[in-house]
Symmetry: C3
């Protein structure tokens, strides 16, 4: 394929008029020229990366000339100031300054440091609007506003402190939070005034921004918007190619909690990508199945606009991942239908906890999508599969996947029952004792079972990445081991420390529907 | 290097007569044209992948014109019907329909869904015959017909159920088996009659096939043959390039049980592949050491026909991996000479168990290759090493490898002795108690020691992937830890629960040579 | 970008005079021709690799014609014998024979097998001199001459032997050491006389070399020099490209002890490398930020000579990694300022142990660099960061990193206090009992906490590889779990085995400043 590409390029080069192919570069605005004057020496990395980017080459006017299906911008009313020039430093960093708390005068121009999705929306309005409905845009709130997750977070990144009563946890500082959970979930950026710095150009003033740097998908920006387009469309190339390659998703989905990237690399799809991907066209819009690529990447299944070789649309582009997802399979003990709303901290289960299922796996259905919507989403995703596979193949795959959701949920129910008995007998301190259910060693054995191993089994199933990730690599081998560790530890404790008094059922946290349970989580 | 390739291509293009280089594509049969009529729109992914493949470009007649050493097909008597056209949809999916249980009439043509190695054998007979003798072709039977492995499988993928007597395991359902162990080992395909489906072309009938989809290396096909060539020569490119790259092997050999791929990536060989492989010629037949590639991939060591730059054969092509393997180093407590036959469930050790060694490591020699055959195989494999390394280097490497087999076996014997004492004292229930030796938490500590860690150490040694995989990454650090966990747990139990009665030696499973032990495994 | 490269190449090809571009290859010396006579058939892999290398193409005389900043050799007085010919077999393997214990007569020429850094220094003197001051050159001595590390090594790669008194460890044999720790740290090569071998050319004599093969960074060579340039500049291409790609570093830094490579692949930098690196120029000297590459690899941050697009030097080349490293963050319980000298076994902490901190984290300051030197090194490294990032970004990153050193050290102090109490109460046998502090299962729980998890958290912070490696992938989740395992195990033991007598403070190993502690380590 590379050879034929080369041959085609040679022919194209010979046939093309000399003016095209090497020229046709959008003019750079005067304002951006001024930026480049200093910054091309100061920060050659980002300037050169931008120089090679589509933003540097194509003015919005020319981008609008493409027919709709091939268009890379969704706004149709681009301001004249932006329309005829390349999308350079000044174009983005002076946009909507009135909305940005970090706006400041820099060399006589008012600029802001942090470009936000609402800035990008000036040209990419549909994508930005969709992304705002993406569960990822709310990744920070979904973590920070959920007391159960905050309690789990405290036990993981908090500081363990020894005391006479055992170990307690002091909250993590802001820097730790920023590079741990909030690296992916996003920090809250806060403008803290200005500071003066000595630079090669003399003294200059710059804003001080708490939470900076960060490019988490749910970052709270200084204009109040959520997320960072650069999380996937990495600065300052902002390329569709990088976003379509699996490495980008791998930044946050390495595992073992969300092992999507690892499972992909071991799947047949990942194998084809690794072996043949160097010859694919990752920049084509629309993205033609078979012609541009011969196995899906993360983007192909979950986001990209795909067409067949007749140019017919197979699936629409979306920046709200949930459009193609019927189930949520990770991060929580039990799988469940996808939440209706991207803000998940509003969910309440029967026990009043902000979780999409009870401790026995019963879904908090009013907050989750209905079966009909699940079917619609399945059909959307299956259209991608059918681009290469027959219906029997796809149906067989889906049957296995939904079966695996059932079996992993059943196993996690077993693990949870064992944990509940451990709590009930006082061998560990859980919600009923106003204590965290996540911090003790035996509680982590339970956490591992769902947070890592049931998750990995479900991902291996969903992505047909079977084999090792379904069994030996954080899969059923480890899942079954953790369940047995709970059982064997419980049996040992029962033998060593027989209960002095009868066990009451309300020792078990799934019965702890009283407010006390939630207060415990808010310590 | 890429630059010189480009320059050579330019020269080649200029010098070549215009008719060659872009044309010379095999004609497509009428039958295949009919398939493409619909399927190029329906499944553009596989159609386009095929269009770029050698199968689409070269008719068997032209493939036969190569001199023998460069030939990619081994049959010499290709039927006329296939000989002059590209190897397209109809050519493979109408082959030998009389042998395929899933054959059915589709648009007036009798076709079958699942193409098998015996179909491929029409052109690639030597490869198919060799593969039938490959232990991988028997991967399903070797798992399913071995009661010890079935017991291990039950404890891993079975459903743990809580009962008053503790945890017991219910067998996994077919869907779980298919996406867990059988993803790699292969499912048994069974034709379950026909079903009617509404399609864009109206109502049509299709076969229902249990166990589908699957591309496991030991799949039992609907013509009774074993395996799937597409496991490595991925559909529908069926390329030699993909099979020669390590990603393909990585699909099933990620680890931690068989960590070949991970060890490779961290080895010097893997480093060279990752750094320079983009410039190698993965399609050349024969494969010339140094010219086409400068470090081995999995295929180079274990399968490919290699020549030196004088065109002399260094090693013959084989599709039976065992031809170059003196030792089997994984999957079982102890390393041992490679089995004589690819069907390993026929093996019996002194205790009557279907295992290639006893619990003390003594090999079941009559089922295993003799030292002379081991020497022959070592010499075959070493010929590959000598393509880049001097004899002192290769001998030094081999000495270390065989030493590591000894030391890991010795460590595993220590782990097994500890486990036997734990069983003998009743701290866990093993074969002598008619119970599984694999399901309790402490038993998994023992399993880890050989299934993951001794394995990884042996792979790191065999593949010169030393360093981390030999020590800290599932290596000797974890192996020594697991052994110590067994010892320390035993010591704790002895202190907590001193034996009330004397320990009899026949408590230990390695003495459990009575039939009871095997019955226990067949529960 | 690839397309424009192709177009530029086409133009270049058309414009270039025919004599250049394909010719201009350095002449091969007669001596090397003689080698190639046999070895091109015998070892085509290395010969062809060399044929494609810069060493084969460019004679030192021509290498010296480059302007200083673009020069790839640092010596200016190359001997005439070497100056006008390619750098071939004979040029290196006959160099300085008088210094090599393995020198021998081979086809009437005196050669040696193992080329050493001092041989490379004939042309690359600055690099070899710098490397001799690199901590990596001393990797073997730093391991072998440090009794604490030897004790840790014994517990990991030694042979556990069951005895009535429990498990004891017999030292690992030389072959095990060579493929375990010394794979990376380096073996000691020892000439053991000559041996006669039957070859295709009849009987020939060759040296026998203990410790061969090996390419560890701290190998002790047969001329007494340290290290192997081929560890990174892999034989026989010796390319700068491979050394600049992260795979080379990954050979020894896979983790979990030093997880640099894994963290890199999941970082934004690694993502950009994976997505775009195929288009970068890894051979350019100097290496221009933005033009040649748009994200750093290991080499860019730690070794390479970088310039901006104006040609101004951003950072000087170094082969002593420590030049850009203010902190040492791995391998030992606590982080600490980088050691002054590359030989670390000379360090003594307050307790007299060869460790850079006490058991309470206090640094052995007289052996470590001072804050001023740390600042200098930080500035050097930050110059690389500033090539793409603004100052606020870099400062924010650094603040988080140094905070993480504090928090991980604080957590490890908690883990160590718990371990000390376990030792003091006799629940495990540590230094005070003349026993290894590393071999028991509970001691490994403590080791894991610093050797794997605090390390990984620090690497994730240092390399902005946050997210999973900072939390769930060998990160804070596992670190907090291990600490809790220590605490919960201690609590259980205290409940099961209350102390019969009062605990004396000198049970704790950090008080064990008496010589006994060190003797224990020398068992």
């Amino acid at each position: 394929m590379m050879r034929s590409t080369v041959i085609r390029l040679i022919i194209a080069f010979i046939l093309l008029p000399p003016s095209i192919g090497l020229s046709a570069r959008a003019p750079v605005s005067e304002a951006t020229e001024a930026c480049l004057g200093c910054h091309s020496s100061l920060h050659p990395g980002i300037v050169e990366e931008w120089q090679k980017s589509r933003h540097a080459r194509v003015a919005p006017r020319d981008a609008l000339r493409e027919k709709p299906i091939a268009r890379r911008i969704s706004a149709t009313d681009i301001p004249d100031r932006l329309k005829y020039v390349s999308v350079g430093c000044a174009e983005c960093h002076t946009l909507r300054v009135e909305h940005h708390a970090d706006a400041f005068i820099h060399n006589e121009v008012e600029i802001h440091v942090v470009v936000s999705p609402r800035d990008c929306a000036v040209c990419h309005v549909t994508e930005a609007d969709e992304y705002a409905e993406n569960i990822m845009a709310h990744a920070r709130g979904n973590l920070v506003d959920n007391p159960v997750f905050q309690d789990l977070q405290l036990s993981i990144i908090g500081t363990p402190v020894m005391s006479d009563a055992g170990i307690r946890y002091e909250p993590a500082d802001a820097d730790t939070r920023a590079e741990a959970c909030e690296y992916c979930h996003g920090t809250r950026l806060v403008h803290k005034g200005m500071e003066t710095r000595n630079t090669d150009m003399g003294e200059m003033e710059f804003p001080r921004i708490d939470g900076w740097p960060n490019q988490g998908v749910g970052r709270i920006n200084l204009d109040g918007s959520l997320g960072s387009c650069a999380a996937c469309h990495t600065r300052h190339a902002f390329s569709i190619e990088a976003a379509r390659k699996p490495y980008t998703c791998g930044e946050c989905h390495v595992g073992p909690d969300v092992p999507a990237y690892k499972v992909y690399t071991a799947s047949k799809h990942g194998n084809i990508f690794s072996a043949a991907g160097a010859d694919w066209d990752f920049a084509a819009v629309p993205w033609t199945i078979g012609k541009d690529f011969t196995a899906p990447t993360c983007g192909a299944c979950h986001m990209s606009l795909l067409v067949n070789t007749d140019g017919q649309t197979v699936v629409q582009r979306t920046h709200a991942m949930s459009d193609r997802l019927a189930w949520r399979i990770f991060g929580l003990p039990f799988s469940h239908p996808h939440p209706r709303r991207p803000e998940t901290s509003i969910i309440r289960n029967r026990d009043g906890l902000p979780l999409p299922t009870d401790f026995d796996g019963t879904p908090a259905s009013e907050f989750l999508i209905a079966p009909l919507e699940q079917e619609t989403r399945n059909r959307t995703l299956q259209a991608v599969c059918l681009g290469c596979h027959g219906k029997a193949w796809v149906d067989g795959h889906w049957k296995r996947f939904e079966n695996t959701l059932e079996t992993t949920d059943r196993d996690i129910l077993t693990a949870t029952r064992l944990m509940e008995e451990i709590w009930a007998r006082g061998y560990a301190q859980g919600l009923a004792q106003q204590a965290s259910p996540f911090d003790e060693a035996i509680e982590r054995t339970w956490c591992d079972s769902w947070l890592f191993y049931a998750n990995t089994v479900r991902f291996a199933s969903a992505m047909a990445g079977g084999g090792d990730f379904g069994v030996f690599a954080d899969g059923r081998y480890q899942l079954s081991r953790r369940i047995r560790e709970l059982a064997d530890e419980l049996a040992l404790r029962k033998r060593l420390f027989p209960p002095p008094e009868p066990i009451t059922r309300n020792g078990a946290p799934r019965r702890a529907a009283d407010p006390g349970g939630r207060i415990a989580l808010r310590r």
